[in-house]
């Protein structure tokens, strides 16, 4: 078995909800694998099964060649897990949290202190090392959580929505940390609701929806299927909507979707924007919003399934700094 992570036909049912409905995955060693999907797609359930926290109802999975059900103890010695919500002890300090994990992993008292010190420095937490985690910001908690899953230098790392709820700055910091790990040879499986995140980190992306794989490939392959970018236009006067619609349809060559007072249409050519601006100007229409934005998970969804994804906005997430 060559893959770092492999799953075949994973099924998990919670009451009436089929959280996973036959998922196959294979993650080559030393790569970053992105599990992309909207809220409720089954990402956390998949990660929890792979990390031995949950048994599948059907199907099989292997991590580092070991069966996650029958050889769970061995699997646990090979993996690091950072769950969707920071799972560090709020009442202990950052340093104590790391020492605790190191001791449980069999480090001597001395080695545990040394390893904790190393990680605190690496994750920029030295100044906060002696403070209880309760006082940490959301970004610091996430970093400590990630550090805690790296104490034993696992070869395979699971990151469940590692940046949900973080501000853009903290998100970039975390991306860099993940890139460093990958450079050292760690295999990473990360879940995310953001195409942009999967795009910038993952070698291979699998899109899941309602417990099923609906697309897979590299980021470029996925984007090629969607058409790259989306033109968004909102006229100042709602009465101009119909005119704006016909202008956009004519220039882009495709009828935009109307979303309230907004028009959206896939548009891969940036030169379309000046053309639209000119025609609006001629017709005396003032635009409240006119942008060309990169494809989002929602666009992937719309293209693949014909419906919108219910993506949580970062601000809705429970994981914000106190």
């Amino acid at each position: 078995m060559d893959d770092a992570i492999r799953a075949e036909g994973l099924v998990k049912q919670f009451g009436a909800t089929r959280a996973l409905d036959g998922i196959d995955l294979s993650v080559p060693r030393g790569t970053v694998f992105g599990l992309l999907g909207p809220n409720g797609a089954g990402k956390t359930t998949a990660v929890r099964i792979l990390a031995t926290l949950l048994a599948p109802d059907a199907g099989q999975a292997w991590v580092d060649g070991f069966d996650v059900v029958t050889e769970a103890a061995t699997v646990r010695s090979r993996i690091g897990l950072t769950g969707q919500y920071a799972s560090v002890d709020e009442k202990l300090t950052g340093r104590e949290n790391l020492i605790l994990i190191a001791r449980l992993l069999g480090f001597s008292r001395r080695d545990a202190r040394a390893r904790a010190g190393e990680l605190l420095a690496e994750f920029g937490l030295e100044d906060a090392a002696h403070r209880p985690v309760q006082t940490y910001s959301g970004g610091m908690r996430r970093r400590l959580d990630l550090a805690a899953s790296l104490v034993g230098q696992p070869r395979i790392l699971f990151l469940d929505e590692p940046t949900t709820g973080l501000d853009p700055r903290a998100r970039l910091d975390l991306w860099n940390l993940i890139r460093q790990l990958v450079a050292q040879g760690t295999t990473v499986l990360l879940t995310t609701q953001y195409l942009e995140e999967a795009d910038s980190l993952a070698d291979e992306i699998v899109v899941i929806d309602q417990g099923r794989v609906i697309a897979s490939g590299t980021s470029d392959q996925l984007k090629a299927r969607i058409g790259g970018q989306t033109l968004v236009l909102a006229p100042e006067q709602e009465s101009d909507l119909a005119t704006a619609l016909s202008i956009v349809t004519e220039i882009v060559g495709r009828e935009p979707e109307v979303d309230g007072a907004r028009l959206q249409v896939p548009a891969s050519d940036p030169a379309l924007v000046p053309a639209v601006v000119r025609r609006l100007d001629e017709s005396g229409i003032v635009a409240r919003e006119l942008t060309l934005r990169g494809a989002s998970l929602d666009d992937v969804f719309l293209t693949l399934t014909g419906r919108h994804a219910s993506v949580e906005t970062p601000a809705d997430d429970a994981e914000v700094a106190p």
């Binding site: 949950l54 048994a55 103890a73 897990l81 002890d89 605790l100 449980l104 992993l105």
Partner: protein, 254 residues
Amino acid sequence: MSSLQQTLTLAWRSLLQLRRNPWELMDFSIQPILFLLLFLYVFGGAVAGSTAAYLDFILPGVIVMNLVFVTVYVGHGLNTDLTRGVFDRFRALPIARWSPLAGRILADMVKQAWCVLLLLVVGFLLGFRLGAPVSGVLVMLALLLVFAFAMSWIMVLVGVVARDPEHVQLFGFTALFPVTFLSNVFVPLDTLPPFIRAVVAANPVSLLAEASRGLLSGGPVLEPALWSLVWAGTITVVFAPLSLWALNRRLARS
């Protein structure tokens, strides 16, 4: 690292939490002392004629009452770990499956022993003197810890079932108040109306308090001690499997 060492490490972690959280330490250190002082000086004259005479009676009673209340922390801590994901972090580590729970219960035993000794020292400062051999203190401590261990299993169940740590506390204390007050902790059995006497006499809190009084000041020990152990055994036999079943069920569904 052996599973015993893992358990000790996890118990150390629970105790370390106290250092960072002085309120909890206050809760189970200052509160029983306040209880002791209040009951002693408010009821002492009325119940026993003098505070000095009442001290012999109330000190073991408060020790037992506090023991029962402190077991709530097992459920509270377990629920906190479950709801905050810390329990999952432990479960994803290559350590013995039972060590997180064992560590928590072990830490609770340490807290319990601390409370008993603290109350004995405060009692001593208030004028309490042993009327029985010193070895009685050790026997009492052992008896109390056995009972606390049994109670821990009930609290594990509460901790597993409750939605959040606040509900553990709410439910735990609400359920334990009648149990501790329908006992002979504050007043002797024979002052109670006959219709509740049977209930109070069979209450393990009464039995433990009576055995403790015997061990500290002299009086009947064997019978109440044996009945206390019967209670502890029964509670453990019923609640340990039930709690573990509930815990596994919760883990399998989350």
